[in-house]
Every structure is written in C-alpha cells, then in structure tokens.
Amino acid sequence: MGELVTDKHVKYILSVEKRKDDFESVVMEHLRMNGAYWGLTALDLMGKLDVVDVNEVVSWVMSCQHDSGGFGGNVGHDPHILYTLSAVQVLALFDKMDLIDADKVTNYIVGLQNEDGSFSGDMWGEVDTRFSYIAICCLSIIHRLDKINVEKAVKYIISCKNMDGGFGCTPGGESHAGQIFCCVGALALTGSLDLVNKDLLGWWLCERQVKSGGLNGRPEKLPDVCYSWWVLSSLIMIDRVHWISREKLIKFILDCQDKEKGGISDRPDDAVDVFHTYFGVAGLSLLEYPGLKPIDPAYALPVDVVNRIFFKK
C-alpha cells in the first residue's frame, strides 16, 4: 500500500486551482468556495498552507459576499448557507477572522431559521439538517451561537432520528453517513450528544466498514473515500471509533491515491478530485496518520485553528 505521497497531493491541489478552463473545473465552478475550503484545509493538514497567496484567496472569498451577509459559491453567484460556512472556514484557516463582519453573517443565518427550529439553505426555502449543522458551526466559529434558538434547532435535528440511531435530511428521511455527520456534529457543537443513542448509532456506523477496509455511507452500498470523513468523524464524536479497523481503513485510503500525479479518488483506480483528496487526507488525520496535523471532527478545521478560535484571548 505504501505511504501517503504528500508532495504529489500538494502539487495536485495547486494544479487544480490553476486549471480553470478544463471541463472538470467548469462543472465545479458553482461550488468553487467549497473547493477552496477542501483544497486549503487539505494543504493545511499536510503542513503546506504557506504555499498559497493568502491575500489573493482572501480577497476572492470576500468578493463572493453579498449585502445580505451570505456568500456565493463564486463571484456573482447567489448566496447560500453552504458557501457561507466554507467562506468562514477558509478565513479561519488563514487567521483572518477580523475581516468578517460577524453581525452581517449572523443576520443572514438567523434569518434562515424556521419556526420549527430547522434551517433553510437560502431564501428559497429548501430545508435540510445539513443546513442546521452549517448554521450552528458557522455561528459557533464567529462566537454568535446565542443569536439563534438553539433549543429548537436541536429539537428539529432529534425529530430526524431514525430506528437505526442515524439521521436523515428531514423527518422520515433515511439515515445516511453524510447526514449523520451533520446531525451529530450539530449536536456536538451544542453540547447535546446525550440525545444520541451512541451504542446503536455506533454499531450502524461501524458496520459501514466493508471487506476492502473502506467505508460506505449506507448499508449495502459501495465504499467511498469520502465516508472516511463522514463516518469516521461521527464515530469519533460519539467515542466509538475503536469499533472499526484503523489499519484496514488506512490501507483503503492509501490505495485510492494516484501515486503518479497526486490526488485521491473515491475508490482505487478511479479518477481523482479535490473533494476526495480532502476527505482522504482528513480521514487519515482522524486516524492519526503520522505527519498530518490533527483535524477537529466537529468543526472540520485543524485542531490548532479551533484552539486559536476558542482559547486565544
């Protein structure tokens, strides 16, 4: 299986940033803000954030902000809570939180909370527990969590809990590892993990590990490197990560590397992309793979960044 080819992954991430005109980049244009977060966080975990031109990135991020306070996925795109969190996370990575008008961002997010405690993704009203996590995580990073109704937000998330201990998008929705990360993460950030049935959910999550060592996102589905983040971070937050085989998962992620050109794919020998490169590196970080910075399972930011946010006076 070999080792993590860090240098090649760094090169790959930087090359994606430069290739603006190939088909892949054009298709991804609408979520460039998410892409920036994935790529930059992966670089930081590999200790290479300093190769990036901070001012260039930061001024681009700020140019995606709207008067409403929300951020778009790219310049001129409509604002959405999905990109607002990524923007705030990128600024946190660079220790540029002072550039954020916290009240403005807070107003945007507060305006998206619905009467039942749920959150809409933007003014058009799509509701999803992903947005609950994003709202809570984002406000927590900018120290404004008290501005929303946390109790109702938690209640809504709990109303999406299923018979398997997992969570869905909306009440009645099927459990899915990505959705579970969002709900468990939101509960972690609000000190509400006592409302999770940790043994039941832990069993469901640990059974996501398949024979190849990889993790799938739902029963009887194929493994995928991105679940090395969604499943693993959830297992860590509920302290059940020892229920899976660390060695087997490390091997699976390393097997998904493109060792020549860099980058990590969903499964061995598939095409690589930034999304899976980030989730592979973040997964290895959660598995305490040597040479990587530790990442916080709830804030999805390096631990030193989180400590800086909360323990720097």
């Binding site: 058009w124 009203g125 799509e126 006592d194 020892h242 229920w243 598939d270």
Partner: protein, 700 residues
C-alpha cells in the same frame, strides 16, 4: 467524481472535452448575464435549461428559474391555463435534469417548489416516482420526495406500508424500504390505527417478514437494523423508572460523625462526610429524565430541615440526566445520637418527571432507609498520613464472607425492593423466546455473525426482563461465549464485541452479593484512617468498557487498574467514590476524565500508565463540557492567576485545566503518560492546591 475510471484520456477525447467545456462556459456566462439583468426571455430560459441539464447542482441557475416563474405567474392574472403551462414547463425541465443526475438536490427541490405553487396533477408525481424508483430503488432523494408527495396527497400510511412490502417482496435487499417501513409502522402504532393495536399482533408478522430477509442471506445488512428495532419495540419500557438508589431500599446506615459511615462490623470511610458533612442521596433511572425536584420527589424525615435540592449528574451540564443527586446536610442538625432516623423517598405520585422522549414517570416508587448517627459532626482535623495510598496486591485481603449488614448492594437488591416494578406482558417474553429459537435454528444451519450477535442480544434481553428476575443471568456463560466467537469471526469489529463482552461480565459480577464477594477486599495493616473499608477490585479483568454502575453506587474505593478502559462514562453516578485506581488502562485524553469532575468526594486518583498525551485525536472532546460545545465558559480569571508564572497557554492547557481545576485531590499518580513531564507536574501542583502526594512523592 464518483465511480469514473482514472484512465488517461485519448487525444480525441481531450479535444471533445475541451469543446464541451467551452460550450458550457458560454452557457454559464450567458446565464449569469441574464440572471444579473433579470432577463426572462424564452431564449434565456432555454439556455438556462440546457445549462441545468449539464449541471443540475447549480443553485443559482434554479433560483433564476424561480424568479422567472414568479414573474410569469404575476403576469398571468391567475388564468388557470397559463398557470398550468408555466408550471408544466418547470416540471419538464426538472425531469430532464433528473434524468441526467438523479441525485441532484437542487432539481428535486425545484420540483417541490413548483408543486407548492399549487400544481394539481399530483397523481402524475407518483407515476414518475414509480419509474424512477424502479431504476434506482435506493435513491434517498426519491424516497424523500415520495414521502413529500404522499403527505401532500394525504395518502394513507397503510397504502405506503403496502408499497414497501411490494418493494421488499421484489428484492428484500433494500434498506431504504425497510427504513420507510419503520417510519410508517411507528406512526401507525403510535396512533393505534385500526388493525395496529395491540402492537404484539403487528410485531409478530413483522418478525416473520424480516426473517425472510435475514435467513435468505444473513450477510446482507438490509434487514439487520429493522430486526433489532423490532426486538427493541418488543421489550422496551417507554416510561422512566427508578432502577436503583443510594442508600438502597431497606438499608440501615450508621454514621460516626466526621469519621465513618459503616454497617456493623466493618466501617466504611466516606471522605464526603468529614469534609462537607453531607450525605449524598442518589436516584438512578432507566433513562435520562428531567423534572426531578422537591415537588416531584417527596422526602420525609425528621432529619430534614428544608427541601432537598436535586441536581442532575450530567457531564454536559444538561437538565436531563439518568442520575440525580441531593445532599442531606447533617452538620447543623441537633440530632439525637444513637437514635435511628427513617428517611422515606417517594416519587411518581405526581407528574413532572419526564423522559427526553416525553414519557411521564411510570409507576409510583418508594425507597426507605434508616440512618443512625453515633457521634456528632465536628470540623475535620488535618490528617497526618505517613505515606501515600497503596494499590499493591499484597496490601489487600479478600473477604471470606459478607455480613448482611454491610452496605454493599448488588443487582438483586437494588431493584427488587422498589415498589411496583411493572412486569412486561407474557406475550413479550414469548416473542423473545420465539426469536431465540428461530436464531438457534439459523445457527444450526449456518455459522453467521448476525445470527450469533442477535442471539447474544436476545439472551441479554430475556435476562433483563423483570419477569425473569428469579432465574436472572442464567444465560451469561452462553452470551460471553457468543461474544468470544464473534471476536474471532469478525476481527474488524473486535472491540465492539469486546465492549459488549465487558458489559455482560460486569452485569454478572454485580448481580448478587455472592458474585461480588470475590472482588471485595479490605486493606491489611492499613493506617488507622483508612482501616477496614471495602475496596472493590475489578482489576485485571480485560474490561474495555465500564458498566452496571447502577449496582455500584455504594462503592467508595474502586480499583479498575490493568484493564483496557478508554472511557469511564457513567462513573459520575458513584458519588461516594473517594479512591479510584485507573492505572494501566487506555485512557487517551484528559477529557476522558470528565465524569470525575462531578465526584466531589474523590481524593485519591491513580491514572498512571495510560495513554494521555499520545493521541492527536481526542474521542472524548465533545462528550465533556467545554467552551467548544458551548456547555461551559472558560475560567480565564482563574487560569491567568497561575498561567503566567509557569508560562503556559490556554490553547495547550485548557483540557487538563478544565478537569483538575474542579477536583480536590490529595493524591494523584500520573506517571507513565506521555503528557506527564516536569512542566506538567509543576502545572498540576499549581492547579491542585490540595495535593499532598504526586506520583508517590511527598509534596509537603
């Protein structure tokens, strides 16, 4: 990119792709220009539709359509034909986009949004869904949309339940269908719909249905979780109940002023008493509850001067907790020495104690114990101790037998004497026994992990049924064997089975006084202050997890050393604990010690030879109250008092500060952890002013 092979592209493919990219880029820039200028011409909308076919995940492109629709609708003067044609066009665009990407959140939501504008042809939606769901029976977007449409149509749950049966009948390997079935059935059972009450009738048929799936292919997980849910539906008690307490019902306790708390013969030291002069009363429920207070818990005793204040023992500062404590203050009472006082606690007579899922306390319960105070309380005098506490084997002696009066209680005592334990229905037990037989049959044919695991769980469930208390724990040996087998059969999840194994073992050990006896020790040649108290030694049992704490509320000295514990979750309930040995375990962080913060009586702590400081990822971080989870403010004032003098920063020391700052230890052993260097030792001395011994070294 999901599921696309990594092959290098051929030259002609590269050229084709780049042409495609150019075309898409031009569509994108045209669209953005139209969007920013609010141009909603036919041509502009066609371009947008083409763009969405290529990239249905672009929120902004859907938003543009919504704005266009709103503008058209306001111009339509509500003419039904015009409205219909506007909305039909949107449904068509969505359908095309979905055919390209069935998993697009944006496309599915746009469809919902269009329907919310008052579209009437909902029947068409179900037909469309049927086709989509045949093509991909696990698509969760389609299932979500199906629930949305069913609700909009007011389609009866019974009909949808039937649909899941058809889907499962066609192919049982469909977790999504089993999931939806659990949702629908929960609704029907909850509102006691016709034909769905009593639930036992329904569950019987469900068990049969899921057997078909599990027994056909035991390795297919589709039915596993549904089956576990059915077992839970069969045996669980919704209402909160008291499962144990300290003092236990019927106990006689003698207090010797500030010295001892003992039963006759052997005294039991409680350092809570000398230092605070209070006696903890612990209520342990079957699940987390709120609303425990002086109006829901009635305490009658001559010893009581005012109302007791009940506090939740919650490690995340929640008002919801499984264990609650109140402290009976006996310092300023004018008690008659050697007189026996009766304390009677009753709860459940009035409403107010509620579980987190909203159930009221089940049945009235009563706990009565007697208290005798032999000498009056005096201010504690500084104890002169010549040496630190020892946990060496040579210093301990096993008990030959336990006397009736010793304040040791086990599962058979703590639960049986609480009033009105409701017995689950005979049918419930019958159903579990039937399942046990079914899975024994399965295992006689095929050696499979789900068979063994389910059997172990069923046997555990039957042992826990209140009605089977008489022959309680008869299946323990078999359950332990099953988990041993599973550790070999499925090494990937080895520690899951080991954790379960540990829980079963602890249940067995704490089940009766006889089973506890081999683990109860007293100290030989101990110094006077610590003489003759019971030490529960659960060391070297290969425990990876702690459990059965409801049976251990009486313990004051606990030795859990030489196990494989990663967490001590639940230990906060042991309010009498004063000496704790956790050395030689696998505790990986300071946050793992979170429960100790609630143990006000803890004086002696040994956490030597653990893994604190050797892990970069902390698995207890969000299970411990802290500023990260907004459950606690960081005490900057207190931190800064000494942080400057030894040059430490909050970013690196907040975790040990959080834990140790709230402890009152006199002895701490922390050597053998990567974190414990000289710098750290000087931090400990500062943060723990009460400390007299550190790593067996006298600090005075």
């Amino acid at each position: 990119m999901h599921g696309r092979p990594r092959n290098a592209l051929k030259e002609e493919d590269t050229a084709a792709l780049s042409a495609k990219a150019e075309k898409l880029r031009s569509l994108q820039s045209h669209f953005l220009a139209n969007h920013h200028n609010r141009i909603y011409t036919k041509e502009a909308l066609e371009g947008n539709a083409k763009l969405l076919e290529n990239n249905p995940e672009w929120h902004t492109a859907w938003n543009y359509r919504k704005l266009a629709v709103e503008s058209f609708l306001s111009d339509s003067h509500s003419d039904p034909e015009t409205v219909k044609s506007i909305l039909d066009e949107e449904l068509r665009v969505v359908e095309n986009a979905l055919r390209k990407n069935f998993k697009s959140y944006g496309a599915w939501y746009h469809r919902k949004w269009v329907l919310s504008k008052g579209h009437s042809s909902i029947d068409k939606e179900l037909r469309l869904l049927d086709a989509f769901q045949k093509a991909d029976p696990r698509n969760f977007h389609a299932w979500n949309y199906r629930r949305f449409v069913a609700a909009l149509m007011k389609r009866p749950d019974e009909d949808e339940l039937k649909y899941t049966e058809e889907v499962i009948g066609a192919n049982f390997s469909n977790y999504s269908a089993w999931h939806n079935r659990s949702i629908l059935l929960s609704n029907l059972l909850k509102r006691k719909a016709e034909g769905y009450f009593p639930k036992e009738n329904v569950l019987e048929g469900e068990f049969e249905l899921v057997h078909n799936a599990i027994f056909t292919d035991p390795d297919d997980q589709s039915g596993w979780f549904y089956h576990l849910w059915l077992i839970d539906q069969t045996v669980k008690i919704d209402a909160p109940l008291l499962v144990s307490s300290w003092p236990s019902h019927g106990f006689n306790i003698t207090l010797q002023g500030n010295k001892c708390l003992h039963g006759s013969g052997l005294s039991v030291i409680n350092s809570t008493l000398p230092n605070t002069g209070t006696l903890p009363i612990i209520l342990y429920f079957n699940q987390a509850v709120e609303g425990v207070n002086s109006s829901t818990v009635n305490v009658k005793s001559e010893l009581l001067s005012g109302n007791l204040v009940w506090k939740p023992l919650s490690t995340n500062n929640s008002n919801n907790a499984q264990v609650w404590v109140a402290y009976l203050d006996i310092r300023n009472l004018e008690v008659q020495l050697s007189k026996t006082y009766v304390v009677e606690i009753s709860l459940g007579h009035s409403k107010g104690i509620v579980s987190s899922s909203g159930y009221d306390y089940g049945h009235p319960s009563r706990v009565t114990f007697e208290l005798c105070i032999q000498t009056a309380y005096t201010e504690p005098v500084e104890q002169q101790e010549g040496k630190s506490n020892s946990w060496k084997d040579d210093d301990f002696q096993k008990f030959d037998h336990l006397q009736e009066s010793e304040p040791i209680c086990s599962a058979d005592q703590v639960t049986s004497e609480i009033d009105h334990i409701p017995t689950t229905s005979g049918r419930c037990e019958e159903a579990v026994v039937n399942e046990i037989n079914q899975f024994r049959d399965l295992l006689s044919e095929i050696d499979c992990k789900i068979g063994k695991l389910t059997l172990a769980r069923l046997l555990t469930a039957v042992d826990s049924l209140p009605s089977s208390r008489a022959n309680n724990m008869v299946n323990t040996e078999e359950i332990l064997q099953l988990y041993d087998d599973l550790m070999r059969l499925d090494p990937t999840h080895y520690l899951y089975y080991k954790d379960e194994h540990s829980l079963v073992l602890l249940r067995q050990i704490t089940s009766s006084r006889d089973s506890l006896l081999p683990y109860c020790h007293y100290k030989k040649n101990a110094i006077e202050a610590f003489a003759g108290y019971v030490c529960l030694r659960l060391q070297n049992l290969s425990l990876s997890r702690m459990g059965s704490i409801e049976n251990l509320l009486w313990v004051q000295t606990l030795d859990l050393s030489h196990n494989q514990l990663r967490s001590i979750e639940g230990l906060e309930a042991m309010q009498l604990l004063s000496c704790l040995n956790l050395s030689h375990n696998k505790l990986g962080s300071f946050t793992a010690l979170g429960p100790l913060r609630l143990l006000k009586s803890l004086k002696v702590l040994n956490i030597s030879y653990n893994e604190i400081g050797s892990h970069s990822i902390d698995t207890r971080r969000y299970l411990c109250s802290s500023p990260l989870s907004h459950t606690e403010e960081f005490a900057w004032d207190q931190f800064e008092i000494f942080a400057g003098s030894i040059g430490i920063s909050a970013a690196t020391f907040w975790e040990p500060f959080l834990i140790f700052q709230s402890l009152n230890l006199t002895e701490l052993d922390i050597k053998g952890n990567p974190v414990a260097d000289e710098n750290f030792r000087s931090f400990l001395v500062k943060v723990l002013p009460t400390l007299k011994w550190l790593d067996e070294e006298d600090l005075s």
